[in-house]
């Protein structure tokens, strides 16, 4: 359990900057998720904390100790690899004990820790098997067990669930959350799956193009995305983006959409052209005439909710969310109502401004 802090760390591969002056504080016991698209530098950042990549500039402090020059094994962090990297010639017990033997720990202490970890992960029966004799989910557990026995200051996970099938992924996700609650240790978790990020994280760090876009709790990131990138990346189905013109000031503000309809809102930015962002759940189908109307092009019924893909009169595309028992069918003209407290305006730099 430890605080981890990164102070303007950077990293280049052969002249190409992959991490560009990132600073980040992670508190002891926190579950931090690095979220970002492929190639955004999540793994690189994690591996820099682990010591598997050198840090070109900046400082890494783990538990109050400057660590950027320490060998990976001496940073008191444990890593769970994406494809587990279990030693194929060792039994499950051997895999878990290997790191402890290397630091010359007593055999009795090793045995105790291995048995404890096996109990926590419910794999006592598997201890004498080899990785080849385990299912994917069981290998995953062993990989986590190998980290647990070290009682590390922090756990590092690099997309640990990506090799599991959908059902197992959901189950393991819940188990990881339970594990974190039980162990109360610092965990840093890399994923490009926003559901994993939303469900597991205390705080999400959204990365894009070698930089941090936003750091915040899952709901912060979801409700108040800092940039257009974050707004589009987090949330499924994705946020709607519409061209809009902000007019007026003070209590008399409104945005005009491409189809000429006007939405009143309250926001602290000067008038001008913006991208209007609105999540599908803030676009409601209304029985009576409302802000505007659209024509349903495709209706997707997901059981608990219905996604309606619409075209406004000027052809602008928009997705609305309706209840599971929605009776809209494709081709219908529907009245649309906007939740004006959930509107976001993005300026030319992509910076978000949120409606009050």
């Amino acid at each position: 359990m430890a605080d981890i802090s990164l102070d303007t760390v950077s990293k280049s591969f052969g002249g190409i900057k992959v991490i560009d002056g990132i600073s980040l504080e992670m508190k002891s016991g926190e579950f931090v998720v690095f979220l970002g698209p492929s190639g955004s530098g999540k793994s690189t950042l994690l591996r820099m904390i682990a010591g598997l990549e050198t840090i070109d500039g900046g400082a890494l402090t783990i538990d109050g100790k400057r660590s950027e020059h320490l060998a990976p094994g001496q940073r008191e962090v444990a890593m769970v690899f994406q494809n587990y990297a279990l030693y194929p010639h060792m039994t499950v017990r051997g895999n878990m004990a290997f790191g402890l033997k290397n630091i010359g720990m007593d055999k009795s202490e090793i045995d105790k820790r291995v048995e404890d970890a096996a109990r926590i992960l419910e794999m006592d029966a598997l201890l004498d098997r080899r990785p080849a004799q385990l299912s994917g989910g069981q290998r995953q557990r062993v990989a986590i067990g190998r980290a647990i026995v070290k009682e590390p200051a922090a756990f590092l996970f690099d997309e640990p669930l990506s090799n599991l099938d959908a059902a197992l992924r959901v189950r393991t996700r819940v188990e990881l959350a339970e594990l974190h609650q039980r162990m109360q240790s610092t965990m840093i978790y890399v994923t490009h799956d926003q559901t994993e990020a939303m469900t597991l994280a205390d705080r999400i760090v959204v990365l894009n193009n070698c930089r941090i876009e936003q750091v915040g709790t899952p709901m912060d990131v979801y409700l108040y995305p800092a940039t257009r990138f974050v707004a589009g990346f987090v949330g499924s189905p994705g946020m709607n983006f519409l061209n809009a013109e902000l007019k007026g000031s003070g209590t008399d503000q409104c945005v005009t959409l491409g189809d000429g309809s006007r939405i009143a809102l309250e926001i602290d930015v000067p008038a001008g052209p913006y991208d209007l962002g609105i999540r599908p759940e803030a676009v409601r189908v209304s029985a009576a005439p409302a802000a505007t109307t659209g024509k349903a092009a495709v209706v997707e019924r997901l059981g608990d909710r219905t996604l309606i893909h619409l075209h406004l009169e000027d052809g602008t595309e928009l997705t609305a969310l309706d209840s599971g028992r929605s009776n809209v069918v494709s081709g219908d003209a529907v009245h649309l109502e906007f939740d004006t407290s959930q509107l976001h305006l993005f300026d030319a730099e992509g910076i978000a401004h949120h409606a009050k």
Binding site: G73, Q74, F81, G99
Partner: protein, 280 residues
């Protein structure tokens, strides 16, 4: 598929089987002939026509080889030098292959090119240098003298490097997280993960060393220091060469290799494919 095409395929398969069997027989015949001849009395051996089975079976030549020659000592010399060559070649090549594949040090690339280049030089070209060198070091007629020049097998370094290259780098990283020293990475991870290729290469090296003739023949002049391959050329007496006696000694010389082949059949095939893939 119509019945006629099936019949045609069967017919071709049959023809192919017969052809391969014929070729196999052709290959095996000299061995059969050697063994059979060593069991015939000398006068039967020199008969000018082919007899597939001896009129009289005799073990007298084996008896001669085992009692009247120094074959026991030759066996010991062969075993000692072949085991020595195998252990030294495989262990040094393993270290070299590992270093070139996994460690980053100045001169690594140059070293690799040197090894690749030395692989282009046939050992026979160096044999005079070896001889002079061993003579200067007074190592002729000794096990060390037989062993040392036979330790040069760049192909084994190359095969080891390739196998170590193929170990995913995740294992090395996992080991780094596990506080493993470089020795632990080599001995606890890379070697155990590559046991198959290590045993295979040990077996081929042993067979090469056992069958080596040219160098041991030059390096040794004393009968009691000869390896068995050299020794069998000495099975004659004042009355000249006896074919059956020589053949019986040759059969005895080949026996251990045949045994290795039989016991480790699959590994031997694998090893030969491995080194042949590079030897081309």
């Amino acid at each position: 598929m119509t019945p006629t095409t099936i019949r045609r395929i069967n017919w071709m398969g049959g023809a192919f089987t017969i052809l391969t069997v014929l070729i196999a027989v052709l290959w095996a015949f000299p061995i059969y002939w050697g063994i059979i001849s060593s069991l015939k009395p000398e006068n039967e051996v020199v008969r000018p026509y082919i007899e597939l089975w001896p009129d009289t079976l005799t073990f007298e030549h084996y008896w001669f080889a085992l009692t009247q020659t120094q074959i026991g000592k030759w066996y010991i010399n062969s075993i000692a030098t072949s085991v020595g060559v195998t252990v030294l070649t495989v262990s040094t090549s393993l270290f070299a292959g590992y270093a070139i594949s996994q460690l980053r040090f100045p001169g690594r690339r140059v070293l690799w090119w040197l090894i690749l280049a030395s692989f282009m030089v046939p050992t026979q070209v160096l044999i005079i240098n070896h001889f002079v060198l061993m003579a200067n070091m007074s190592l002729l007629n000794s096990w060390a003298g037989i062993i040392l020049p036979q330790l040069i097998h760049p192909v084994i370094v190359i095969v080891f490097k390739q196998f170590f290259d193929q170990v995913p780098k995740d294992f090395r990283e996992a080991a780094a997280m596990d506080n493993a020293s470089e020795w632990a990475v080599l001995f606890k991870i890379y070697i155990p993960m590559n046991w198959g290729v290590i045993t295979a290469l040990s077996i081929v090296t042993f067979i090469w060393a056992w069958n080596a003739f040219l160098w041991p023949f030059l390096a040794v002049t004393k009968t009691e220091m000869m390896t068995i391959t050299v020794g069998i050329t000495q099975v004659f007496d004042a009355f000249g060469v006896y074919y059956a006696r020589q053949l019986s000694a040759a059969v005895l010389a080949g026996f251990p290799v045949a045994l290795v082949y039989l016991v480790f059949q699959r590994r031997v095939t694998q090893a030969i494919t491995l080194s042949a893939g590079i030897k081309g």
